[in-house]
């Protein structure tokens, strides 16, 4: 991991700025997400204040910064709480797909043979399906046992990304399997499980962080699309931007702009930021694409040294 960060630090040119801008915007969203209870004036499902209903579809003003929507929600509060939901789902879905996809990929690549063939074939078949369709099917299946909360949404999205980790890790494993260090381990009498866990794992997970950040942007898009179609997180569970946008469709047809503009802008900003982080990481952490920054080498000047000692 140390070399990973050093690689980023040593990069020069555009890639650093892309990464920096992406990280800063993402951090802002994380801060808002963490501080949501203090930053948002209302709760995510709060429609009343001191017993009186909030106004319906009030335009943006000093009291309601982004206005209110047709469900009597304060849009600014919904946007802030939505950041929390978005990050929760992204983290959860990434963790689950890595935890399932990576070991499966290592096992498939290492064991090989029919086991590998079948897994690759099934994987490719799933991968060829439209990703949103797959997510819809899973949310359809999970709605019964899990309801319409963060967990169900994250798991539905996970189904889309497991094949990607599987594919990348499996391919790296296949080439690493024949490497000298694996042969050495085998010669020393290491069991297959030990080889996979101790020798292969550390070497094949290098590509996962970059893929993870690129997927994070995509996962957010999928979450919002699910929410927009009505199969994502239900409004009483948490605030979700995609759902808010679908509620505001009729308002848009009527020319009311604030219920769609603000959740949409938040969504695009976070997707773009995560994409920038992914692209930036890809260009800085990938030695093939990286352009190194040349550190000036400072030679000690002899006369100076001599003067100092005098």
């Amino acid at each position: 991991m140390g070399s990973f960060f050093r690689g980023i630090w040593n990069t020069k040119g555009q890639a650093r700025w892309i990464l920096l801008v992406g990280v800063v915007i993402t951090l802002v969203f994380i801060v808002f997400a963490v501080l949501a209870p203090w930053v948002a004036p209302y709760d995510f499902n709060q429609t009343k204040l001191d017993g009186a209903k909030l106004p319906k579809l009030a335009p943006p003003s000093g009291t309601y910064w982004f206005g209110t929507n047709d469900q009597f929600y304060d849009i600014y509060s919904r946007v802030v709480w939505g950041a929390r939901t978005a990050l929760e789902v992204i983290v959860l879905s990434l963790v689950i797909s890595i935890v399932i996809g990576v070991p499966l990929g290592i096992a498939s690549g290492f064991i090989g043979g029919w086991f590998d063939r079948i897994l690759v074939f099934v994987n490719d078949a799933i991968y060829s399906l439209p990703s949103l369709l797959l997510a819809i099917v899973f949310s359809f299946l999970l709605r019964g046992p899990l309801g319409g909360g963060v967990t169900a949404a994250a798991l539905s999205i996970t189904a889309v990304y497991i094949p990607q980790y599987f594919r990348v890790v499996r391919n790296t494993t296949v080439s690493a399997r024949e490497a000298t260090y694996v042969e050495a381990a085998r010669a020393l009498g290491a069991k297959p499980f030990t080889i996979m866990r101790k020798y292969l794992f550390g070497n094949v997970v290098q590509s996962v962080p970059v893929l993870g950040t690129l997927n994070a942007a995509d996962a957010l898009g999928t979450l919002a699309a699910l929410g927009f179609l009505g199969f994502g997180i239900q409004p009483n569970e948490a605030s979700e931007w995609g759902y808010d946008l679908s509620r505001a469709l009729d308002d848009a047809q009527a020319g009311t702009w604030w219920p769609t503009l603000f959740p949409g802008l938040a969504l695009i900003l976070l997707i773009t930021a995560l994409t920038l982080v992914g692209e930036g990481l890809n260009e800085t952490a990938n030695p093939a694409l990286r352009r190194r920054r040349l550190r000036p080498v400072v030679f000690p000047r002899r006369e100076q040294d001599e003067e100092r000692t005098r």
Partner: protein, 342 residues
């Protein structure tokens, strides 16, 4: 396969032979997901409305009380006959749904491809020819933004703009009520039917309704095309044949248009084939945004109604489309570019 003679018929045969296992795996995956997974289709769709006996009777008529392996073989056999089952919630054959609403999805996606081409090809060529200039940078940013923006948000922003700037321009559905009433469905492709009847006002009404949805979906796809054409033009411009063309004294304009650009187009066909899955995902969302009466809208309704058979049938159909189009595109690429055949 590397030792093959490289004949076109052989390539096509090999490619077609790979279709069946691919389809079989897809169908099996769909079946496992929707049938073997826990959850009872009948009580999910109509539970609460009927008593236990009636539920059991429904299960028996649908064949859901039989062993899974029988159901599985039946399912494969039925799909081979293009029978996707009958919906549980309203007892409608899924094939009828596909016939009735498929046309709207078809014209939407074809229109979107057209838009993507019209926007993507010239912009990609421009960016490739004037590489690393400000025009190139602007076009690349445009490509990234159109691809990153969620399609429904792009759609909503279009609606807001049109509602403010051109009041009266249609912003949802495929046609006005009058047009739908006038045109008798034959092929169920509304635009085609209206044209057959020679109903000019209906045709223009339907075309007007297509503009916003096709533009929205097309913009998403154009980003991919821009990126691809740009890179291919840059590579083609380095080719020996481009150098040779220049040496013969052909104007730079002709060199770009007839020598570099033509060759840059071949990979575009392949990638368009790969975009089918993305296009279908995009079409689902576009249809919801514009209240478009297509297959996406149907799927959304049946998912909401928790109708297992309908969802299974429609998902199966989408999977078939993806496989068929990818084979078709592979064969087309081989026809255009002899280097591909193996």
């Amino acid at each position: 396969m590397s030792s093959a003679s490289g004949s076109l018929p052989r390539y096509i045969l090999v490619r077609l032979a790979l279709v069946l296992p691919m389809m079989w795996v897809l169908l099996t995956v769909v079946f496992i997901l929707l049938r073997v997974a826990p959850g009872d289709p009948v009580s999910a769709a109509v539970g609460g409305k009927l008593n236990q006996e009636a539920l059991d009777a429904r299960r028996a008529t649908l064949g859901l009380d039989r062993p899974l392996i029988t159901q599985y073989l039946d399912y494969l056999g039925n799909v081979a006959h293009l029978d996707f089952g009958k919906t549980i919630s309203d007892n409608r054959p899924v094939l009828d749904i596909i016939k009735d609403q498929g046309g709207a999805t078809l014209t939407l996606t074809l229109g979107a491809f057209l838009v993507a081409m019209v926007i993507g090809l010239p912009l990609g060529r421009l960016a490739g020819r004037y590489r690393d200039t400000s025009a190139d940078a602007a076009i690349r940013v445009f490509g990234v933004v159109t691809y990153a923006a969620p399609i429904f948000w792009t759609g909503i922003m279009f609606v807001l703009l049109v509602v403010k700037l051109f009041p009266g321009w249609p912003t949802n559905d495929i046609a006005s009520v009058v047009t739908k009433f006038e045109v008798t469905p034959k092929s169920h492709i509304l635009l085609f039917d209206a044209a057959l009847e020679g109903n000019g006002s209906a045709v223009s009404d339907i075309l007007k309704h297509h503009v916003l949805p096709c533009l929205t979906l097309g913009l998403l796809l154009s980003g991919v095309i821009i990126r691809l054409v740009r890179i291919n033009v840059i590579q083609a411009m380095k080719g020996d044949y481009v150098e040779a063309a220049r040496a013969r004294g052909i104007s730079e304009r002709r060199v770009v248009r007839y020598h570099a650009f033509r060759n840059a187009l071949v990979p575009v066909i392949t990638v368009i084939g790969l975009q089918v899955a993305i296009t279908l995902s995009g079409a689902l969302v576009t249809e919801r945004t514009f209240n478009w009466p297509g297959l996406g809208t149907e799927l959304i309704q049946y998912v909401t109604a928790r109708d297992y058979i309908a969802v299974q049938g429609l998902v199966t159909f989408f999977a078939l489309i993806v496989v068929v189009v990818s084979v078709f595109v592979d064969i087309l690429t081989a026809l255009v570019d002899p280097r591909v055949r193996y």
